[in-house]
Amino acid sequence: MEVKKDILWRVYLIYFFMCLFGVAIIYKIFIIQFSEGEELRAQAERFSTRFFDIEAVRGNIYDANGSLLATSLPYFEVGMDVNTEAISEELFKDNVDSLSVCLSTLFKDKSYKDYRKLLVKARRSGDRWVVLHRDVSYTDLQKMKKFPILRRGKNRGGFVYLQTNKRERPFQFLAARTIGKVNENGTGKSYGLEVAFDSVLQGKSGQRWMQKIAGNVWRPINDDNEIDPEDGDDIVSTIDINVQDVAENSLMNSLKKHGADHGCLVLMEIKTGEVKAIANLKRTKDSTYVENLNYAVGAATVPGSTFKLPSLVAVMEDHNVSLDEIVDIGNGVCYYSNERVADSHPPVKSKITVQEVFELSSNVGVTKIISRYYSKKPQQYIDRLYKMNLNEPLNIPIPGEGKPYIKDTKDKTWSKISLQWISYGYETRITPLQILNFYAAIANDGKMMRPMFIKEVMNRGKSVRVFKPEVINPAICSKATVVKARKMMEGVVTNGTAKSLRAADYLIAGKTGTAQMGIVNGKMTYQASFVGYFPADNPKYACIVVVSAPSGDSYYGGSVAGPVFKDVADKVYSTSLEIHKEINHTQPKYALTAPKVKCGYQEEIESVLTTLKVKNQTNDENSEWVSAISSDSVSVSLSSKFPEETLKKGIVPNLFGMTARDVLYLLENNGMRVQLIGSGAVASQSITAGTPFVKGSKIVLQLI
């Protein structure tokens, strides 16, 4: 055991030393934390870093023709590392003045002295980062890259900038609510296509490693991003900004004229369901109108008379009612269970056809037909409406669609008069877009499409995804019913409540609506609407206009909403060449007025005049150069006398009005040297007309 004992004391000695080592380490930790701690922690502040997200550039939203509806513009926060080793004292001193001047002239926010003070102070105090300007646009950034010192770049000039993106809508309020907005910082509401396609548009953010420096300013550590952002895809919407412009302005004028509370308009292509324009305007406190709520998509309200079409289509489908069936509307007033139904205007005659009921929008007429066929089994009527998808939302991508409400007979609120009230558009709620979609389906031979807002997703100009038109219901009713329904709607414009919409070149078909919205401030408020399609013989577009709570005396759909419809329809019709008929088949042989002709090359002048069908004659077929000696209102006479003849005699002619090309050719060929100033046609000449000249003399011509 001697050996063992000898070993043991040695082991314990070693053990003791190791414990001592441990204590020494703990002691050192205390020293660092307490006696040196203060200063070290101050340094830690200097070294704190974080990964920052770098926003990916959000995709653009384009209109159908490639105009930008929403885009992200880059802005830069520009700073400078004034104390980088690459900037010598000499360089700084030599350039600080000119740099300050450049900054001051570019941004105009501070005097050059202030900029100079900022830079010099930062240089003195050893700051590594001075913010020169926030919110610098891309073009200004390019200018800054040429500034003294900064033009040396990041490493040699300490020029550092950080990009942030701002969302802009180049067309400002046009379709603003539908294009929408995403609130990046999580406050306020997000809406519209921006939200619906947020995942496509937003892209993937990258990351950058930043270091905290004085105050709460962060500065990038490395030149490159740690993770590069992936930019978002672009989306191409169906909206046509030109039509949108007309729609929005026309609607606004109407709202202003009628002092309405709000209004909306949607224009849709019938075959595809593409929404070409969508406008929503609401009166603000200071009586201007802004896009602040998507009424067309979101507001399910009482439709009023525009709902008479679904009612009559239902009865035609279920009971094959003909347009000639007679309805007795009496004196325009009738009662159901003591509830009064009245027409807005007393009738001219009491026995009218179904066609006339619709054309004149007779409330009594519609309730009578519906009662005639459905009073025994009202659920059949409701079922028919359901079959035509009127009780379903359209499931469009834009969030916040209003749900339609059409009650059935099991509903608790179903009453004895519900059938009649629903039949002319009460006790029911539906959004403008949904009612429009029904009309568009009728115009589309019964095929109901889903309204489209987006055509395509693109990435750097390449198509990523194409959206195809979607069919909601291939046939909401029979072809025979479609024919009848369209005849009724055409009748509304030709004979009925919307005669003001008759246009010369094409026919509009549709239905007016004037719904009572309830009593506000002791006065009945109305919602005037017009929904229809055009051209009636070959429907291309469907459109709805809703004007809510017009304050004047005029509140009927035909007179308030109708004109807006016509404005938009006119614009669309005039710009859609494919739906045009040629207007003038015959043309006059000659133009009715002759233009003023300047002197020039005969062959070309003749060619122009002939093409324009202007009568012309000349006194010298062989002369290259001619001037118009007389032009009455219908014909032009050309003469060779002037100016070539004059030149040949060695006399400077009057060159006024000649083009540079002609004058150069003519004068140089005749031995003069020509100097031209400016561009356009000759306005003055250095040698006055009629003066003799020698070959080789110089003439200066001022062109404007």
Partner: protein
């Protein structure tokens, strides 16, 4: 607990190892952020999964090794030490470089590499323990006792030395301690220390005047210079480690270290600093305490071991491990110049964790043997 039945050996060591491994996983996870961003697109879970795998497989390895009768290691050490020399030589010329040091060898058939010095360290300690225990009777003699022990030590340390000065020095010191414990003649030990000091002095002189004469001369020179000058600008790592420790006065909480972004070796060499920053000084003291406990258990095992080889093996291995830990922590708190030693059982690192596990397995094997003996009543307490 059925499972516990299979686990033999010192339960305290098992507990210490499990505690440190658990802590290791937590600290490594938060310290790899910078690495993860540099190589894995910010995916820290890659490193976490990898580390958990290595740590748990290390524990399995430890379990397997501790089942082996420790006397076998005496014989294995002979082969191992003979194998170590050519391996080290091969590594020096053909190994995988990290920085300008060639320290790693690929393990055939895998994508893993291992540090040959880890292997050599283990082999040498076991071998020295073996020779010392065999030569106990003639240990005070120069020719018969001193020379057979010192020869393999010098050869192995000399082969590790060019690529990895600190490991060589550490190993040499461990062997010195082992020789001291193994009752080597004090005169011979002083002689050894004396020649060691002269050698270092000579080396420093060469490095100072001709830094390019030796492959890693420049690195060494810079490190020593920085430490002696205490220049905060140039000794960035040490300064960052101190900042981390200073911030730990109020523990920042797991995952909230800032210095990890600046410390290039946050998950291995400077993990102790990150640990203090995130978990505070109390945790640091607990860790030091755990290492001290580990050493104490090693001492106890040595004490209880029937054979001298067992005692020396247990002492040599625990001391080596704890000493390395102390050195690492001393570097982190700026008590020592920057070396490059990981903190055993805590630092992230591939195969070197497995060598630590093997060491611990051997220590446990020794303790298992003594337990068996004690239960059998054959061995009375000293």
């Amino acid at each position: 607990m059925n499972l516990l039945k299979y686990i033999k050996g010192d339960k305290v060591i098992w507990t210490v190892v499990l505690l440190l491994s658990l802590l290791s996983i937590l600290v490594v996870y938060s310290s790899v952020v910078a690495l993860a961003y540099r190589y894995k697109n910010g995916d820290t879970s890659y490193y976490l999964t990898k580390h958990i795998f290595i740590v748990s497989s290390g524990i399995c390895l430890m379990y397997l090794i501790h089942k082996i009768k420790y006397t076998y290691f005496s014989r294995i050490s002979q082969i191992a030490v003979i194998l170590a020399a050519p391996l080290l030589l091969y590594t020096l010329f053909k190994g995988v470089s990290s920085g300008d040091a060639s320290r790693w060898l690929p393990i055939p058939g895998t994508s893993l590499t291992f540090q040959t010095s880890d292997f050599a360290k283990l082999a040498l300690i076991a071998y020295v323990a073996r020779i010392l225990s065999i030569k106990q009777d003639v240990i005070k003699d120069f020719k018969q006792g001193f020379l057979p022990v010192i020869t393999p030590i010098v050869i192995i340390c000399a082969l590790i030395f060019p690529a990895n000065f600190s490991t060589a020095a550490l190993l040499f010191l461990t062997c010195l301690v082992l020789m001291f414990v193994g009752r080597m003649n004090a005169k011979h030990l002083w002689l050894l220390i004396g020649s060691g000091v002269i050698f270092i002095a000579f080396l420093v002189m060469i490095v100072w005047n001709f830094p390019d004469a030796i492959p890693r001369g420049r690195t060494w020179k810079a490190r020593i210079e920085n430490f002696s000058k205490g220049d905060s600008e140039s000794n960035f790592q040490a300064e960052q480690a101190k900042i981390a420790i200073a911030r730990g006065i109020v523990p920042q909480g797991p995952g909230n270290s800032i210095s990890r972004n600046f410390l290039p070796q946050a998950s291995s060499d400077f993990i102790f600093a990150i640990l203090i920053e995130e978990w505070g000084i109390i945790t640091a003291i607990i860790i030091i305490f755990l290492y001290v406990v580990l050493l104490f258990r090693g001492v106890r095992i040595a004490n209880n071991s029937e054979r001298t080889f067992g005692s020396l093996l247990a002492i040599g291995l625990t001391f080596s491990l704890v000493f390395q830990a102390m050195i690492n922590m001393a570097v982190a708190v700026n008590l020592f110049p920057v070396t490059g030693q990981p903190l055993p059982l805590i630092s992230m690192g591939g195969t070197s964790i497995w060598f630590t596990s093997i060491s611990l397995g051997i220590i446990l094997s020794v303790s298992r043997e003594t337990e068996v003996k004690m239960e059998g009543g054959e061995f009375a307490t000293t």
